[in-house]
């Protein structure tokens, strides 16, 4: 087996290739904006060039003169539809064309629609706005920035967690650190651009748009347009990267739908890369203060984590990663506090591990600082503070294999060969540094429905309104059906990304594999029960066997003693052609209304820190080697090893791929990624992939993913912990630690660039 297809360990599934891999690499997968659509008109956005003020006048004459221009949707034209709502399905409450107020840079001021893409673009560029400008607030420290307590402002963050008496414990601690960290603004920049294609068939609205949430969007779009959700269909069969950016719907979708209605024609609007920075969501910049008090033996007695997050003036978007950092180690006492800083910016939104990426970065960088202060090996320091129960609610972990991850990753990395002395390791002109950090991500699941059909020919069709955002969920859902029903994977067809399918929750929070597989499992088991009854009844081939003892494999039902019946034959005996089962899965702890909410596009999340019995998290440990040139100080990462434990691994290939992608992103977050905000104007400056850097192949050398076997039956019926967002947590802290080890420079503000090392 090659590295891309790791040999499955205990409780790990086969590394089957993705069932849609061939379609994707041969260009046959139609992404929403690729779909050939007859009689289509093209829309292009015109956006504001100020961040705060009012549009006093819009000059449309030049735009209207462009040959081929069909329509301009702007102020006044959206008055009959509702404003967007901020929440799981909506990116912002700002209705850009409902109001001439400008809330942020790059706000939509019009949509030009034309016969060709080029004419639409030209017209959009010719739309001129006149503004009444006000001085905007860009970020932290900008004049006019308003700081408020985050707790209670958003259902995502009800209260600041705490335990014990931090102040007393910190004051009494013989060893203390108190340090501040920051992370920059980041934009997802998925390679697939954002787009909306909308058309009406009578009163039915059909929208093709890459989304992680077809059901939520259907309901929210219907609400905005004041139509029956049953008349809205959202399609998103393939998605070219999302990372959270395609979770909540942005105001563009309704604007394009209105344009399509006015014209009586399909309208497609592809947002340019530059415009995406202001019209989509992003990860806002954060600041942190961490205080840790410990005994000389390395036991932590006091931990405080204060966080500050930027949000828009319109919406209280909160990530509050203190819920995870406050439960990471055996702290003794915990104090946390999260503040929001309101600025004249677009509303931030989910971006791969939204809370953990910034908060765990700060925690793990601080842990390394504390280990150094204590003169202790950083792995040993974490081992000493490994908790039996989490410190906030004193609940057990459903499973926690962090130390196994550290041991296996340290071993593979060769941590024992590290000379702990700062600056001691060299290779010619290159300073060598090694560092490590913990990765953590909450394991949640949400209600999910699925339909599975097995025909007498052994063909399986799985239908579930989840989304293939590149994670491989379509493949693992198929794999689940293939395993449970004993049919080969190439007989399984999986349909996803359509709001007319059984509803699934938003593909966010790493819940998809757990939720979807649990629903598919349930539907498959219902099929098994029917077939088992058929096979074991009086006079049938497996009469006398108990249902629970039957196995489904290779197209057969196999009894304990070895007797078997072909599934095909059982169908014949039963005189049925197909068995079709619709199943609804609800995670443990679901409220009585949980399934109803699923259909309403408001799925409940359970797991993580929400459950009564235990807290549920997946863990990992990452080790990084950096090399820094002694003259020019550029940082390179020749090696990175990550070991992760996440319950049942459905498919070692797709799991590795997710974790690898996460680690690569983590390296980018450590060393490259940042959206620059011009503080004078509250505008984004580097709005393209030339200046917004992410790693290229040459940046990634030796990368190893270790899948540590773990069994956890408490998390969900499938035994799966999500891992899509685990890999990029902690990486940046591991890099920062390695940079410190190489140079003695503790860099606390990301990204770590030559600028900070050369001074």
């Amino acid at each position: 087996m090659d590295a891309a297809a790791p040999k499955p360990g205990e409780n790990q599934g086969e590394p089957l290739p993705r069932i849609d891999a061939r379609l994707k690499v041969t260009g046959q997968a139609h992404y929403p904006a690729d779909l050939p659509t007859a009689n289509i008109a093209y829309g292009a956005l015109s956006t504001s060039s100020i961040a705060r003020g009012r549009v006093t006048k819009l000059r449309l004459d030049d735009a209207r003169a462009v040959p081929g221009l069909l329509d301009i949707v702007t102020y006044g034209d959206m008055d009959k539809v509702e404003k967007p709502k901020f929440g799981n399905s909506g990116a912002t409450s700002i209705g850009p064309l409902h109001d001439r107020t400008i809330f942020h840079d790059g706000q939509i001021i019009a949509l030009a629609v034309a016969e060709t893409f080029e004419a639409a673009e030209e017209a959009a560029q010719l739309i001129r706005a006149e503004y009444e400008e006000e001085k905007p607030t860009a970020s932290f420290d900008s004049p006019g920035a308003k700081t408020v307590d985050a707790a209670g402002k958003n259902p995502m963050h009800k209260e600041d967690v705490k335990a014990g008496n931090f102040d007393a414990a910190y004051a009494a601690a013989p060893v203390r650190i108190d340090a501040r960290y920051s992370t920059p603004t980041q934009h997802h920049n998925p390679i697939e651009l954002f787009s909306t294609t909308a058309f009406w068939q009578g009163d039915q609205l059909i929208v093709h748009e890459p989304t992680q949430n077809v059901t939520g969007w259907k309901v929210e779009l219907a609400r905005q347009l004041k139509i029956d959700p049953a008349n809205v269909r959202i399609l998103s069969p393939f998605i070219g990267g999302a990372f959270g950016s395609k979770g909540p719907m942005t105001p563009r979708t309704a604007i394009v739908a209105v344009a399509a209605k006015r014209l009586g024609r399909p309208v497609r609007c592809v947002t340019s890369r530059m415009q995406a920075f202001g019209t989509q969501t992003y990860r806002a910049e954060t600041r942190h203060r961490i205080r840790i008090g410990a005994g000389r033996d390395g036991r932590i007695t006091a931990f405080a984590h204060e966080g500050w997050e930027v949000t828009s003036r319109a919406d209280a978007y909160v990530v509050a990663g203190t819920s995870a950092t406050g439960r990471m180690y055996d702290y003794g006492s915990v104090l946390t506090h999260v503040s929001l800083v309101e600025a004249d910016r677009n509303t931030p939104g989910y971006m791969r591990s939204p809370p953990e990426t910034p908060y765990v970065y700060a925690l793990e960088n601080a842990m390394d600082e504390m280990a150094v202060t204590l003169g202790m090996d950083p792995v040993e320091f974490r081992r000493i503070n490994e908790p039996k129960v989490e410190p906030i609610g004193k609940k057990p972990f459903s499973s926690r294999s962090l130390i196994q991850c550290y041991d296996q990753a340290a071993d593979a990395f060769g941590w024992a060969k590290r000379d702990p002395k700062v600056g001691a390791m060299r290779d010619g002109d290159w300073l060598v540094g090694m560092g490590c950090a913990t990765a953590i991500y909450p394991t949640a699941a949400a209600p999910c429905a699925a339909r599975v059909r097995l025909t007498s020919d052994g063909d399986v069709r799985v239908q579930c309104g989840s989304h293939e955002i590149g994670t491989g969920v379509r493949t693992v859902a198929g794999q689940m059906a293939s395993e449970r029903l004993g049919v080969p994977i190439d007989k399984v067809n999986v349909e996803m990304g359509d709001s007319s399918l059984p509803p699934a929750p938003v593909s966010g929070g790493s819940i998809s594999t757990a939720s979807v597989c649990s629903a598919v499992l349930k539907a498959c088991d219902a099929i098994r029960t029917k077939l088992s009854v058929g096979a074991t009844a009086e006079g049938r081939p497996l009469a006398g066997s108990h249902n629970e003892e039957l196995d489904f494999a290779d197209g057969k039902i196999v009894a304990k003693g070895g007797a078997s019946a072909k599934i095909e034959d059982v169908f014949k005996i039963m005189q049925v052609g197909a068995i079709d089962e619709y199943a609804e899965f609800a995670p443990k702890g679901a409220t009585p209304g949980a399934l109803k909410k699923l259909y309403a596009g408001q799925p409940e999340f359970h797991g993580g820190d929400h459950d009564e019995d235990s807290v549920k998290y997946a863990f990992g440990a990452e080790f990084v080697e950096v090399r820094i040139n002694r003259y020019t100080r550029e940082i390179r990462v020749p090696r990175i090893v990550g070991a992760f434990a996440a319950g049942r691994i459905m498919n070692t290939r797709t799991a590795r791929s997710q974790l690898m992608g996460g680690m690569i992103w983590g390296i980018g977050q450590a060393l490259q990624e940042a959206t620059e905000v011009d503080g004078r104007y509250a505008r984004y400056v580097n709005r393209d992939l030339q200046d917004y850097l992410v790693p290229v192949n040459a940046d990634i050398r030796d990368l190893q993913v270790i899948l540590v076997p773990e069994v956890d039956h408490a998390v969900n019926p499938a035994g799966v912990k999500g891992l899509g967002e685990l890999g990029n947590v902690g990486t940046a802290a591991a890099v920062a630690s390695a940079v410190y080890h190489a140079t003695g420079n503790r860099i606390r503000d990301l990204p770590i660039r030559i600028d900070q090392l050369i001074a």
Partner: protein, 340 residues
């Protein structure tokens, strides 16, 4: 993108004739109604962004003169046709052997795809990547003379510390040009007023108070070739490029170095600096500082100090002064240690 007329002239004189018909004498090539396009990797980009707004494009790729596509190596030096692609020149065995600094500067630039499209003449004429220049809603003296410079007090991490003016601090980002200016290359151009040779060092103009005037070329002048003389120091030459990531990024600082050594001591040194200056930048003071000296870390450092003696930095680009110096020191020592 605005509509434009697209023409494919057959030969150089036809191209010049059309260009001169649609442009005026005092027009800048980058602001003219009719503009040449070669690989299009720079111009087409800026047209989409509304930064360049020609209403007529003259595509040079159909010009029939074979020399435009040839690399000719002789005892006098190397002559590169203007339409030779970056990738071809970077991979050319004789170029690599005789002038490693040229091959390196091209190999380390852009991406494989862009190197296959982009021409050498287009490369040396590439325009700045200043973020405020690239986006038309910002004030920018280079794009709209007299409108102001948003970068001056803005996010200017990538901006120049050498050769800047009160009007413009945009960096010249090309790599190849640093090798050319170090090796005293000459550019051949043909226009309505005839053919001429322009020393590479005179091709680009400092921004001063006219940052919109970028080169010495007239709007109807076509670069036909770039000539690099055969010199004793070309073989021991190297291009060092420091950037935020390992590939596909512009230089934060770079150095093109060519040395003629007599044992340890420097007979001749040629030095150019990239990523730090507003135009391709020959560091003559650094060259002079090394003349007849033993090349070691101390003398390299003295040369680097001389190279950046006049550097002026702003809020976000102060690190470039120190980085530029260290890049030069490292480049000098690595070039000294080359086996030739």
């Amino acid at each position: 993108m605005r509509p434009f007329v697209y023409e494919q002239p057959n030969d150089i004189s036809a191209a010049v004739a059309i260009a001169s018909r649609f442009t005026t004498d005092d027009e800048q090539p980058t602001r003219a109604n009719a503009q040449f396009i070669a690989g299009g990797t720079n111009l087409a980009d800026y047209m989409k962004l509304g930064v360049a707004v020609p209403n007529r494009l003259l595509d040079l790729n159909r010009l029939e003169e074979p020399a435009l596509r040839q690399i000719r190596v002789s005892d006098d030096g190397i002559r590169f046709g203007a339409l030779v692609r970056m990738g071809e020149a970077a991979d050319h065995a004789e170029v690599k052997r005789r002038c490693p600094v040229i091959a390196d500067s091209l190999r380390l630039a852009a991406s494989g795809q862009i190197r296959n499209m982009a021409s050498l003449a287009g490369n040396i004429l590439q325009r700045t990547r200043c973020e405020y220049f690239r986006e038309t809603s910002w004030p920018c003296n280079k794009r709209v003379p007299g409108s102001g410079c948003a970068a001056m007090e803005g996010f200017n991490r990538q901006h120049a510390v050498l050769g800047a003016s009160d009007a413009c601090i945009a960096t010249y980002h090309g790599d190849f040009a640093q090798a050319l200016i170090a090796l005293d290359a000459v550019v051949r151009a043909e226009g309505s007023r005839g053919a001429r040779k322009v020393p590479f060092a005179r091709l680009h103009r400092l921004p001063r108070d006219t940052p919109h005037i970028e080169t010495d070329l007239a709007a109807d002048e076509i670069i036909t070739a770039i000539e690099v003389p055969a010199v004793a120091w070309a073989r021991r030459s190297r291009y060092l490029k420091i950037r935020d990531r390992e590939s596909y990024a512009f230089a934060l600082a770079s150095a093109a170095v060519a040395l003629d050594l007599d044992g340890d001591s420097v007979r001749e040194a040629r030095i150019a600096l990239g990523g730090v200056a507003t135009v391709p930048w020959r560091a003559r003071a650094a060259e002079a500082a090394l003349q007849d000296k033993k090349l070691d870390e101390a003398s390299a450092d003295a040369a680097a100090q001389a190279a950046f003696a006049d550097a002026e930095s702003r809020q976000h680009n102060a690190f470039k002064v120190e980085l530029g110096k260290r890049t030069l020191v490292r480049a000098l020592l690595e070039t000294r240690d080359m086996k030739v």
